[in-house]
């Protein structure tokens, strides 16, 4: 029994598993990575968007499979690491692996069709992503990384705000049962 209101936990909906065409999944992941790597240099106001994270969260919560979330997060994170110059490969991979795992875990307990729950899940996972990235980079690798809690919260809110309509668009790619 959950302490959340009934709208967040719907026994009839929470066991549903969304299915997508693999081409669509691959294309969206590739587009998200390209967006993250190539768009901000030209449009700096898009730099606050963490598109690979949003895509990882979306597919993890919609597949509701922790193993799938782990693999998805790992692939996306490693690709992001690989395309980021002078960046150790595995750092984003580790963080997004954990994000995928926990996103799928949360999707098994909340109604991820609800925009509000999507907003808060994304908000929480964005903060987790930034915090865990800071822990790994500074503590494990000794990289000079700063963590500004206020900025992280603002960015998390912005990303969560973008995530809700983005997830709604991605829902259109679902394959009906």
């Amino acid at each position: 029994m959950s302490d959340f209101p009934s709208g967040f936990v719907d026994p009839r909906k929470k066991d549903r598993i969304a299915r997508y065409r693999w081409v669509a999944v691959a294309g969206i992941i590739l587009a998200a990575i390209l967006f993250q790597v190539y768009v901000p240099p030209f449009f700096s106001y898009f730099a606050y968007l963490e598109m690979p994270l949003l895509v990882t969260v979306y597919f993890s919560i919609m597949r509701r499979s922790q193993a799938t979330g782990v693999l998805l997060g790992m692939v996306i994170g490693l690709a992001q690491d690989s395309l980021s110059p002078n960046h150790p490969v595995g750092l984003f991979g580790l963080v997004k692996t954990l994000v995928g795992y926990f996103a799928a875990y949360m999707a098994q307990r909340f109604d991820v069709q609800n925009p509000l729950s999507r907003f808060f899940i994304t908000l929480f996972l964005f903060i987790f992503h930034q915090f865990f990235y800071w822990v790994l980079s500074s503590a494990l690798l000794g990289l000079p990384t700063e963590l500004a809690p206020g900025e992280v919260v603002v960015l998390a809110t912005l990303n969560a705000g973008v995530a809700v309509p983005l997830y709604h668009l991605l829902d259109k790619l679902r394959v009906s049962d």
């Binding site: 590739l30 030209f42 193993a67």
Partner: protein, 371 residues
């Protein structure tokens, strides 16, 4: 066993993924090696898409800049047009000011050297005077001793006369108006007539009979017989002349309007001056060869100050045997005609000591009629 695997499958995958990536990180940190292979794969995988994305971005950016964002270009174009118009107007204004300054300077010089007593005035307006004729408003009036009937002139010639005077302004009728009239006289033929305006840029001269000689291009001056304009002011040049029923139809281009009309001189006290004589244009003089002397060369010469006989082109007699005779012949030529004999006698009378030659008269350039 299968149940156990299924139960811990998710956490096992997570642990495997984390361990694998930690090992990868540890490998990179410990040996400072880069996992080039993974980067090559990733870059190779995304490069085609990146190129497509960059093509779309550059195309979109170019389309936006070249077509959709032309609002700024239009504004800039409008600004440049406005600036161009402003500069063009300033340029015209400066040209007008420069021209006005030239006219004013020309008028000042004329005023300084003219025997007429004048007052400079500026045309400040344009109105309709009495009798439907157009009049201009001058900035001089009774306070400047301006009175009705005073002539208006410029350096080029007469342009009108005062028709109405106010304390600080005056109306003037231009010479181009139909009600304008002035007595004029031609420079060369000295024929007199009455200049009348025609409402345009030209005027006509009435009162010249068909029998009187007048040529196009001849200048007209004021005759001084109209009690308005003093004698000797330039009026204009005859542009066309033809015989009418009894009088000639003479059209005159008024020279006072040639450089525009912004500043004028009001003749407050006129002084009659003589009409200048037309300039003398040197004409070629033909001297026929002597009767008995064979022609030696072309006998056309120009008049010169030293007379015609010692000029290089003057008629030369037949070559003499001796150099002295040749020299004499070069100076005076043979005495073979009555005119030559008369000239020789006159020369001997004036200069008896130079009877043998030399001392040519200074006014013998014109041919002497043959008997």
């Amino acid at each position: 066993m299968e149940q156990l695997i299924n139960r811990y499958r998710n956490i096992s995958v997570l642990i495997l993924a984390i361990v694998a990536q930690l090992s990868l990180l540890a490998y990179q940190v410990r040996d400072a090696h880069d996992v080039r292979l993974i980067r090559v794969w990733a870059v190779s995988a995304v490069t085609p898409m990146a190129r497509l994305l960059d093509f779309a971005r550059s195309g979109t950016s170019g389309f936006l800049n070249n077509y959709l964002l032309l609002v700024g270009v239009q504004q800039e174009n409008q600004r440049l047009k406005t600036e161009h118009d402003t500069l063009t107007m300033e340029n015209r204004q400066l040209h007008a000011e420069l021209s006005s300054a030239d006219r004013a300077r020309e008028l000042a010089i004329f005023q300084q050297h003219s025997p007429q007593q004048t007052v400079a005035a500026r045309i400040i307006g344009d109105t309709t005077g009495g009798g439907n004729s157009r009049a201009v408003i001058l900035d001089r009036g009774a306070s400047d001793s301006i009175a009705d009937g005073m002539p208006l002139i410029t350096a080029g010639g007469i342009v009108g006369r005062i028709v109405q005077v106010f304390p600080n302004a005056a109306y003037a009728m231009l010479a181009t108006e139909q009600n304008f009239a002035a007595g004029v006289i031609s420079q060369k033929s000295h024929v007199t007539g009455i200049l009348k305006g025609q409402g345009g840029s030209a005027a006509v001269v009435d009162g010249i009979q068909n029998e009187q000689a007048l040529e196009p291009g001849e200048l007209f001056f004021t005759a001084g017989n109209d009690q308005i304009f003093p004698r000797g002011l330039l009026v204009g040049r005859v542009s066309s002349v033809r015989n009418g029923r009894a009088q000639k139809d003479v059209v005159v281009t008024l020279s006072g309007f040639e450089n525009g009309l912004e500043e004028v001189l009001i003749v407050t006290r006129g002084v009659h001056t003589p009409v200048p004589e037309p300039p003398v244009v040197p004409q070629p003089v033909v001297l026929q060869p002597p009767v008995d002397a064979p022609p030696l060369s072309q006998e056309v010469t120009q008049p010169s100050a030293k007379g015609g006989s010692d000029s290089p082109g003057s008629p030369v007699p037949a070559p003499a045997n001796s150099s002295q005779a040749k020299s004499k012949a070069m100076r005076s030529g043979p005495v073979s005609t009555d005119a030559d004999r008369a000239m020789e006698a006159e020369r001997a009378r004036r200069h008896p000591q130079s009877k043998k030659g030399g001392g040519e008269p200074q006014d013998t350039a014109t041919p002497v009629p043959r008997p």
